[in-house]
């Protein structure tokens, strides 16, 4: 499967994401810039983390209105898989590709630490390498990861199995409602998550818990 990584000014996890995709798939992903209006023919588009446009206005708000995001929305509508990590998640909610919003952490502090994630739905294109309820280690690093959705939206995404990852074992770092760490769209081809699976994919990282996400999305999961 072919992948592409979206580059925007102010992102800082793009090199980690490109390295993860290259190491896991054996192929370097294509890269697309903020002003690109077309995305190459790929199966997976990844929006990495960072601080696009300095987090001006709201995290991800400016990036979500750039030409490249219209192209991402068109690809997603056509069935391509999209993963947004951290700022990438914030961009996807600002672009309306995922429901809800990401607000300032309830502690008002930037959090940079490892959390536990439970796989709330293992029956997705992103998590089929994991078992339902499996608990993963994963790093987080963000100031605005406090997921919020109104009661009606929350009921809908919970009922549809759109909550993919939850913070587990009391490690919710940001006050997210229902301990939500990652969600997908109703169609199941767009995933946003605050934690950084790309930073736990090889022994040098101290673990490989994040690998399964990319293996699932790239169709490389063990039979």
């Amino acid at each position: 499967m072919k992948s592409a990584v979206v580059l925007l000014p102010g992102l800082n996890r793009d090199r980690d994401m490109i390295a993860a995709l290259t190491k896991i798939s054996g192929h370097a992903p294509a890269t697309v810039w903020e002003t690109d209006t077309a995305i190459p023919d790929v199966d997976l588009i990844v929006i990495p983390g960072g601080f696009s446009y300095g987090d001006y206005l709201r995290c991800g708000a400016i990036a979500a209105r750039m030409p490249v995001m219209r192209a991402v929305a068109e690809k997603a509508a056509a069935g391509a898989m999209v993963i947004g990590v951290c700022n990438g998640f914030q961009i996807l909610v600002e672009a309306g590709l995922l429901p809800g919003a990401l607000m300032r952490n309830s502690s008002l502090r930037f959090v940079c630490r490892e959390v536990k994630l439970s796989v709330a739905n293992a029956n997705t294109a992103f998590t089929r390498s994991y078992r339902a309820g499996q608990v993963l280690r994963c790093p987080v690093a963000h100031h605005d990861g406090n997921y919020f959705a109104d009661a009606e939206t929350l009921g809908r995404i919970e009922g549809n199995g759109q909550v993919v990852f939850r913070y587990a074992e009391g490690t919710n770092p940001n006050g997210s409602v229902n301990d939500i760490a990652g969600i997908m769209n109703e169609k199941g081809n767009v995933l946003g998550m605050m934690p950084h699976p790309e930073n736990l994919i090889e022994a040098a990282h101290g673990g490989t818990d994040g690998r399964g996400l990319f293996e699932s999305a790239l169709g490389l999961e063990a039979a």
């Binding site: 708000a61 209105r65 809800g100 919003a101 919020f148 959705a149 006050g175």
Partner: protein
Amino acid sequence: MIKARITVTLKNGVLDPQGKAIEHALGGLGFGGVGSVRQGKVFDLELQSSDRAAAEADLKAMCDKLLANTVIENYSVTLT
């Protein structure tokens, strides 16, 4: 030229941790009796137009498309 002010505030029911922190800080400065603080944003714009109705429609569209996140925020537009 038309001048406008847009005010963006959090919707009722959306937790505002920054407002809470400001509320506590005001209490610490001795301002008792502050029941609640909600933080918002203000945008002052100048439009090259004299059509107030069209300007107001444009400003609302700007709020819906960019200046406010209507999942969590309300906005109001005032022409001056």
